[in-house]
Amino acid sequence: MIGGTDIILKARDERAAMDMAIRVIRLAWEHAVFEDADTGQTFRSYSDIDLRGRPEILVYRDAQAQRDWKEIGPDPAVNATMIHLIGRRGELTIGLDDVPGKPILSIVDIIQRSLRTRPELFAGTVREAA
């Protein structure tokens, strides 16, 4: 959780749902960089990511965004450059900035719509938590 808004999706298979979310973000952010939020391990490409045992993934817009987050942390200057995904206990949580901008909300909307096309991944319940 970044400290902003969490969008919580009920997922039948949270690992597959997180995979789908990562792929959606990767399409939106061509140079996305992925990081295990628990260990700090960085993955430069989707194919390198092993999701088993990695419930939290930070997806940065690019390598510069990752560096900026490391240096200045959550700050308006880095808004809209990182999405925090958490897959646990039948839920996929999408952590966003305090005031997520339109581009980020657009990505989240695509993730939700994509999941809705897969009832075996998405259980249909959505809630938001500040």
Partner: protein, 169 residues
């Protein structure tokens, strides 16, 4: 003295762990299921090598077991079609999508009781990658379509990713 059951075949173990035991249990004769699955994988693996050379994915029971430890959902999705897909190239294509290739183009030509032709062009997400085109004229291979992720981006259509169904769970 206690008699120990023989250790399960590692390939069978990942199939059952992935919830796809039906691949073995529904095959007749049952004892030929694993040899048949190994043969399917070996054929697809050879096709991948012939097409992609050093860039080919390794499609063996051992590589599936290794990937299962990393991304079990991907192996589940693959196993769900391995017994149904008829064209070895299409299995290579499925694995390439699971590895991260984008689906740049999908053409389907179908006429009832007459024609089935599916052509899929994959594009690397990296600038230096080449496109790969896969073709099938066997409608059995259409089973892959229901596993594709479906989305719109800027209101434009996209197929992306390959996901497991709830079969066998």
């Amino acid at each position: 003295m206690t008699a120990h059951a023989p250790a399960p075949d590692p390939f069978e173990q990942i199939i059952r762990d992935a919830g796809q035991g039906w691949l073995i249990d529904w095959y007749a004769p049952k004892d030929q299921a694993l040899p048949k699955l190994r043969e399917i994988l070996a054929t697809a693996n050879a096709r991948g090598r012939a097409r992609l050379g050093g860039n080919a994915p390794t499609l063996t029971p051992e590589s599936l077991a290794a990937e299962y430890k990393r991304n079990p959902h991907k192996v589940s999705a693959f196993l769900q079609v391995v017994g149904s897909v008829h064209t070895p190239d299409i299995l290579v294509m499925v694995w390439r999508i699971l590895q991260g290739m984008n689906i740049a183009e999908l053409r389907l030509d179908y006429a009832s009781e007459d024609t089935f032709r599916m052509t899929v062009r994959l594009r690397s997400p990296y600038e230096d990658g080449d496109d790969e085109t896969y073709e099938s004229e066997d409608i059995d291979d259409a089973v892959i379509l229901r596993h594709l992720g479906v989305m719109k981006m800027d209101d434009k259509p996209i197929f992306d990713g390959f996901y497991p169904l709830n079969v066998g769970t």
